[in-house]
Symmetry: C2
Subunit: 490 residues, 2 copies
Amino acid sequence: MNPLTSFDARTGASHGEALTPSTAADIDTAVQVAHATAPAWGSSDGAQRAALLDGLAAALETDREALVALADRETALGTGRLNGELDRTAFQLRRFADIARRGVPFEVLDDPAVPGAPPVGHPAMVLQRVPLGPVAMFAASNFPFAFSVLGGDTASALAAGCPVVVKAHPGHPHLSQRVFGLVQRVLAEQGLPAGLVGLVQGAGVEVGVSLIRHPLIAAGAFTGSTRGGAALQAEANARPRPIPFYGELGSINPVLALPAALAAKGGELATTLAASIAMGCGQFCTNPGLIVLVDGADSERFVAALTEALKAQQPHAMLTAGMRQAFASGVDRWRMLGASTLVQQPDNGSAPGPQLLQVPAPRFLAEPALQDEVFGPASLIVRAVSTAEVLQVLAAVAGSLTVTVWGADTDTADNRALVRGAMAIAGRVLFAGVPTGVAVIAAQHHGGPWPASTAPMTTSVGDAALDRFLRPVCLQDAPAWLVARGGQPC
Amino acid sequence: MNPLTSFDARTGASHGEALTPSTAADIDTAVQVAHATAPAWGSSDGAQRAALLDGLAAALETDREALVALADRETALGTGRLNGELDRTAFQLRRFADIARRGVPFEVLDDPAVPGAPPVGHPAMVLQRVPLGPVAMFAASNFPFAFSVLGGDTASALAAGCPVVVKAHPGHPHLSQRVFGLVQRVLAEQGLPAGLVGLVQGAGVEVGVSLIRHPLIAAGAFTGSTRGGAALQAEANARPRPIPFYGELGSINPVLALPAALAAKGGELATTLAASIAMGCGQFCTNPGLIVLVDGADSERFVAALTEALKAQQPHAMLTAGMRQAFASGVDRWRMLGASTLVQQPDNGSAPGPQLLQVPAPRFLAEPALQDEVFGPASLIVRAVSTAEVLQVLAAVAGSLTVTVWGADTDTADNRALVRGAMAIAGRVLFAGVPTGVAVIAAQHHGGPWPASTAPMTTSVGDAALDRFLRPVCLQDAPAWLVARGGQPC
């Protein structure tokens, strides 16, 4: 196997020592040792899980300076953003610590016996949840902290009582290795087995495929491209015994800017939206990739303002050379499919320029490939002539992490229909602001119909992320000793 | 297409008029009209949903005599059992009526805005749920009421606000048509659109495949064989836009009879278990297909008592000729794979005789095909020599709707380990009684790791069956009018 090289995301130059990709034997060992930790960690109490998660959060903060510097070199995301992302990652770890401490993974639903014949009568039954076992976690390119080694998937799986084997993203191999070292230090300090969190690395598809195929892996969690996620999901389903696979894949995040909003504050919204399109060089799963407008003077003015505002944006370098090439190809494809150009800022050498294109709604509806995500600082405006046509556009998108609706502040039949159409395809519907920025709270839902998620009833961000790794089990006529232990046998 | 013939399950003779299988155009129409009802039904309130479900329950009871007679002819399950099943089906419909009336599908999780910068500060967010849309429901052979046209899947989907298109099971086509007529009558009486519940029929795989492939179908729910369910799940995943598929497939339901229980009341347990093996001619997804014993004098006595008790059982005819043939082949396969015979009651002309075989645990562990479900009145005894070997047997089974553990009443290290091993593979663990009989309550979990279910976090029986058809959506900064409407746009 070729060595795994880390590149400076700004210069493209390799830096640091090349890492050795994980072999099949390495992967097997990582899963075996993770599996060996599953019984004890699955039986740990909330205090113990919380102590680990709190310890990991503190360790991230302690090593902040070195971690952010390394992350910035490998991703070019900038130290401001990366410090904020580290804060969020520590916040997530502490939030799941709190969830574990409050006993959420151990909650039970008690259904005492009812005498008599069925269907009314029934034995004593208690519903609780058990950890699934070792989780294969596939890190994302674009959040080197928050969706990587110690990201939300790892935090929620550990809180649920599951060991984790992380497949590092090859875009930040040194950072992944360094964070993994930090995890190992905390595990050792707390007297926990090293195998509770494993790390495997590799630039090709082989390492990830071997990991999801391993018979002792109990679930997969993935954040990344539609193509990669779909391939891994197919692997999870093709196992002799299929396992749950939680994939957060692509999303184009339509922003529906209605005349009511544009008349009131179109200029301000154009500035806000331009910043959201270019932020992080557009490398967010919630990046607004589609803007839907209803023809009229307000929309014309908004397009002009957005065009100017976007030209003024200067994105930083993309995460990898491959992503930059995919971005250029994606915008070219839009053009070939009939989209006309509004903003075509040139590549500045290290970073792509922002791009804005537009198509009439009938063209968008006739060409499914225009609905594919283009990952980067670009957005496609779709011009509709009526509410009915806007609804057709939303229905064609069919699945998205978010839909943003600006200007639906009054209760009209049109607004009801539009909100309904937005809710039908999205995991989150926003009525103000921009979709980038995902709060880590109880009411968050970061998911949605395919391709936003392979499991649209689940979320990968927020408190309910925990539920993905706990399987319900009903205990019927449980003996007294087991009831006394809250249904936890050991 | 060949006409769809109904057979008398006892005599094998065809009876009644042959039905015309649904054509591709019929299926398309059924889905189109179901889809057309989705917006209005998805916006209906709890009272309206409850009225429909209550009306359907009452209509089943009104037509009880004719329905049970027809069901008995097509299934041979007996009028006693079928009257009980009709009771359960009406009970389920009323239970979901109550769930809708109490507003469960409309519950929201409110996360008021917190001022300040992220990750602590966040906008106002409300989490609620939206109905998925038209559900393709694949009826089971073995529960012509409770898992068929008006079964739990239909009841829970309607309560969730989803239209349903039922693919009838070809084992009871006339009953399905008759129950569908009853549904249409109730829909008309309540002024609801006929398309809210559709029915398609067909004996081959084509009808089911066309249904799950239809672009307007939003989810699938299936109860049946591992092979059929896996094929439909693959179809659901192979769609241009994959959809959730809830399949309840095969299950061998291990019964772990520990010496402590056998010493105390082995004779009584043998009688109970024999009845459970033969009940309904073994045609239950919770039929105890595997009995795990630890060698010793109590187990020897239990095997002798079970052998005698099972010989005395006289099962009724099986549901279809095809199932009877599959049963005979399955038992033959056990024998070819090295299982020795304890009970081999002959076929009595219309019904198979009960079968009991046994193998040593090492043989069971070495031969994965011995772990396949044999649907019918047969059980395989696995003889283990130690707790460790019992745990290996459970781990080899890997997925089952239920595990029954008799004799774990005291808190010992062995019992803890065994309960843990049982919980690791099952959706329900019983400590008394037999797995047949599934209470329809809040704490029920009828599911489990593959092949028990394609979606092990969900249940097809009990209150949480509703959750399969409601997708979470987060509303961020929702306008006042939408908040005032409880987040329901129309």
